[in-house]
């Protein structure tokens, strides 16, 4: 397997959507190629960092304003 072939399947490896056979091939390549190993590990880490850090926090007061808007809108129709 070449690095280009590895890269084409990188997402599938990260998302675990490969067959056991393909996974073995990809992992075999990882064991032999330090560059692809770095790309694989740091790409996985990139996703993990974005997933675990809330970079835009909900503004204070937004929930109350939204609740008030919904109540105003539903005055006509809901109980």
């Amino acid at each position: 397997m070449t690095c280009k072939e590895f890269l084409a399947l990188l997402d599938d490896l990260i998302d675990d959507t490969v067959s056991a056979e393909t996974r073995a091939e990809l992992e075999g390549h990882l064991g032999r190629c330090g560059h692809c190993e770095v790309v694989f590990n740091t790409t996985r880490k990139t996703i993990e960092i974005y997933r675990s850090h809330e970079i835009y926090e909900l503004p204070t007061g937004l929930r109350d304003r939204l609740h008030a808007a919904i109540m105003a809108r539903c005055k006509k129709g809901c109980s």
Binding site: L10, N41, T42, K45, Y50, H53, Y56, L58
Partner: protein, 229 residues
């Protein structure tokens, strides 16, 4: 595609189904529960698309109101959450169009770049590289980095990797084909990785440098400018 009917005992209905039914029956408190459950995600998605806090707040309000009003049109063959995300994405793109009057805004813009499609930075990162930054500083790095991605890549990454939509749901939400979502996701991930490498490289050892030290170019100004797309 065949419609798979849920079989009793095999497939639990999504908890939102009951909440949606209660709202339809006139129980507005049930809608509050849905708001509380998804307001954070909807705000984040809107902020990632509009890149403007005021617009994002307006989008959250408009999207939840629109979903409330159109709940009767919600078919239930998709999840309430993905239906809501679709409304928020459309509202966000509309806001963006208003801000950039006369300029077309679509999720197809700026995706012709080849940047990052072939990894160039192959140096390894420090173990737990985020530990080298304070919370506020790290958040600023992450914001600045993702803001620099082309819009069409950023939306796919956010929906798929941050907010947990499947490839199929992302494709449906954005009106893209599944191969288009996959190709954008790979390039978004690789570009983000490349850009974060600037901050997260393993520090060079020697000269007594500790892993906590940062060189001047690795620190970022307190108020970093948003990269123009």
């Amino acid at each position: 595609m065949a419609i798979i009917q849920p079989v009793a005992g095999e497939l639990e209905p999504h908890p939102d189904v009951a909440l949606v039914e209660r709202v339809r029956a006139g129980d507005v408190a049930a809608y509050d529960a849905l708001v509380r459950k998804y307001e954070r995600q909807i705000f984040r998605i809107s902020q990632h698309i509009t890149q403007n806090r005021e617009d994002a707040e307006d989008v959250v309000q408009d999207a939840f109101l629109k979903a409330y009003e159109k709940l009767d049109q919600f078919q239930g063959n998709s999840k309430f959450y993905t239906w809501l995300v679709r409304i928020a994405v459309n509202e966000s793109l509309m806001r963006l169009r208003k801000r950039r009057t006369g300029k077309m805004v679509s999720i197809d813009e700026d995706i012709t770049t080849d940047e990052g499609s072939v990894p160039r930075d192959l140096a390894d990162w420090a173990p737990d590289p985020e530990q080298n930054y304070g919370q506020a500083e790290l958040a600023e790095i992450l914001r600045k980095t993702i803001q620099g991605l082309p819009q069409g890549f950023r939306i796919v990454f956010v929906l798929r990797d941050v907010e947990g939509l499947s490839t199929e749901e992302t494709a449906e939400t954005l009106g893209l084909s599944i191969p288009a979502v996959k190709s954008r996701l790979l390039r978004a991930r690789l570009q983000l990785r490349e850009r974060l490498s600037r901050y997260f490289h393993r520090r060079k050892t020697g000269k007594g440098a500790s892993s906590k030290e940062k060189s001047p170019e690795e620190t970022i100004p307190a108020k970093a400018g948003v990269e123009k797309q």
